[in-house]
């Protein structure tokens, strides 16, 4: 049995598999299929300071080996979350990551402050949501604004901050460096790629929001590339995601430089993917004679 534990910004994960934000709500649903304790961590649904209803339906469209979503950060707001969901989560022995979003700099800071006294283990700063009109990805596409969010939040929280990066940029490395310089403790990537589908029968976009975020296996090669580029240019840990659906994908992402991985869209067609990935990695490490998962992180040998 190899060691599966990883440490990210001072937080210990029992294994490197985390369910991705927005794909597993606040944990209650998939807990009905297997105990959340099995997971390295859970990244919770994107949270805003006040309740948000999100975008009108349809909010989902299928694409070749992928899907688009345009949920638009529907969530009960941080207070309701702490009251209704945190008690359930606190009892689960897994790393709790709050995914934090805002329309303004003040929003981000206010949530960080409100969560500082909670049992949340880590913040994931979402400056990459493509589905909201204000804020979201607007903060994540320039180095200055991305850095700005982080340095401001830093004053309001003692929790480790992981910044979630958008793939919809010309140069993701410079954004990663900017948030590192501004005090980020880790980065996670990728959020969704902006995409669109049209129903040719009605001539309307399938999503009511017209465009939405692409995720699932289709984006995997883009995610691996970005993780590799970023991991080789920053010194803080990188958490990789985008299209992971089997243990081989997780290993590939880790070789590219990810210290842990997140799994999103794959949950929808197979809720057991995270467990299968953990098990698959475990067996593979044994078979390879690798004693500690950390030994494979970033080991890809470029030509």
């Amino acid at each position: 049995m190899a060691k599966l534990g990883v440490n990210i910004a001072g937080v210990s994960f029992k294994n490197p598999v985390i369910t991705a934000s927005g794909c597993c709500g606040f944990g209650r649903e998939y807990d009905k299929m297997y105990p959340m304790e099995k997971l390295g961590g859970i990244s919770l649904k994107g949270m805003t300071i006040r309740e948000r209803q999100g975008n009108p339906p349809p909010r989902i469209a299928e694409t070749p080996k992928g899907m688009l979503n345009s949920v638009g950060l529907q969530n009960p707001g941080v207070e309701a979350f702490l009251q209704n969901d945190m008690p359930f989560l606190e009892k689960r022995d897994t790393v709790l990551i709050a995914n934090v979003a805002g329309s303004t700099l003040e929003d981000y800071c206010a949530i960080a402050e409100r969560l500082d006294s909670s049992k949340i283990d880590m913040l994931e700063v979402n400056i990459s949501c493509p589905n909201v009109k204000e804020g979201g990805v607007a903060f994540g596409t320039s180095c200055a604004s991305a850095g700005n969010v982080v340095s401001h939040m830093r004053r309001y929280t003692t929790k480790p901050m992981m910044v979630k990066l958008s793939p919809n940029v010309t140069d993701i490395v410079s954004i990663a460096k900017a948030v590192q310089d501004a005090g980020a403790d880790a980065v996670s990537l990728i959020n969704t790629l902006l995409g669109m589908r049209i129903d040719i029968a009605t001539r309307r976009p399938i999503l009511h929001n017209n465009v939405g975020g692409l995720s699932g296996p289709a984006v995997f090669p883009v995610a691996v590339r970005m993780v590799w580029q970023v991991a080789s240019q920053v010194s803080i840990p990188v958490v990789g995601m985008g299209g992971i659906e089997k243990w081989q994908d997780a290993v590939e992402m880790m070789m590219a430089g990810a210290r842990a991985v997140q799994i999103g869209a794959a949950l929808f067609y197979d809720p057991y993917v995270p467990l299968k990935v953990i098990e698959g990695i475990d067996q593979w490490l044994d078979q390879q004679g690798v004693r500690d998962i950390n030994e494979i992180v970033g080991t890809v040998k470029p030509w």
Binding site: Q53, P56, Q74, F268, Y269
Partner: protein, 256 residues
């Protein structure tokens, strides 16, 4: 309650009408837990998203479930290629079904088109105390009529073009039925315009309604929040979720 996800063998298959398939699947853990109006989420080979299909009947004795669906696009097409002996990848049972009053209540079930199958299990609960009002485009599209009849339901058929039964919509038959006598509950499934008129007729007659809605889905279990539907709760318009808060809603709370 817990969700099951696994492969289950198909034990029977029929084509009820052109493009409408009727599958029986041996599925003990779902058959034992499931309730009328719940649905399952089916994986179609080669597709990223599962397809939600309502339970048409639940046979606890035989430990089977019955699924009736229409081929609409690629996913249901792929599903229709499965044969007896093949396995179906099923996640379920999901959602909240129709409330089941005690069987002596007078209940009207209303189904339109491919919204008819989900009403069978509910009708079965009330047997001869149920009125089943079912509507289709035309006589060729009629399915499951004999199923309601053999359950003892007062079965009334409408077709849009009058090629079988009543010439017109189910709303006409519903009005007729409500004029003939009282009802304790109306349960309905079908296209939104049909549900809207059912609810408005029922409201006038002061009969409570339960309607089963559709929306495009991701997870099917309430985790991804994509299947939003506009509802009024506590006087406030909010997006609830078809897979978790529904698919069955109070007719009064749906914003049509």
């Amino acid at each position: 309650m817990s969700y099951i996800q696994s492969l289950f063998p198909i034990t029977a298959k029929k084509e009820l009408a052109p493009g409408i398939f009727d599958y029986t699947v041996y599925c003990p853990p779902i058959a034992s837990q499931a309730a009328a109006g719940q649905f399952v989420h089916i994986r179609a080979d080669g597709f990223t998203l599962r397809r939600p299909i309502s339970l048409c009947q639940i046979d606890r004795q035989r430990q089977t479930i019955r699924l009736v669906f229409e081929v609409r696009g690629g996913g249901t097409q792929e599903m229709s290629h499965l044969s007896v002996g093949d396995s179906m990848d099923i996640l379920g049972p999901l959602g909240n079904g129709f409330p089941l009053l005690s069987p002596e209540n007078k209940v009207i079930v209303v189904g339109g088109g491919i919204g008819v199958p989900p009403m069978v299990e509910t009708a079965a609960h009330y047997g001869k105390n149920a009125t089943a009002i079912i509507g289709f485009r035309n006589s060729q599209a009629v399915i499951l009529k004999s199923d309601f009849e053999s359950l003892g339901c007062d079965t009334r058929l409408a077709t849009d073009d009058g090629s079988a039964g009543y010439h017109g919509f189910v709303s006409g038959l519903l009005k007729e039925r409500l004029e003939q006598g009282p009802a304790d509950l109306i349960c309905a499934c079908g296209p939104m315009p049909m549900l809207k008129s059912v609810v408005s007729i029922a409201q006038q007659a002061n009969v409570p309604t339960k309607v089963s809605l559709e929306e495009r889905m991701g997870c099917g279990v309430g985790a991804c929040l994509v299947c939003a539907c506009r509802t009024v709760r506590d006087g406030k318009e909010i997006f609830t979720h078809v897979c978790k808060d529904g698919p069955v809603f109070d007719g009064d709370e749906v914003v049509f």
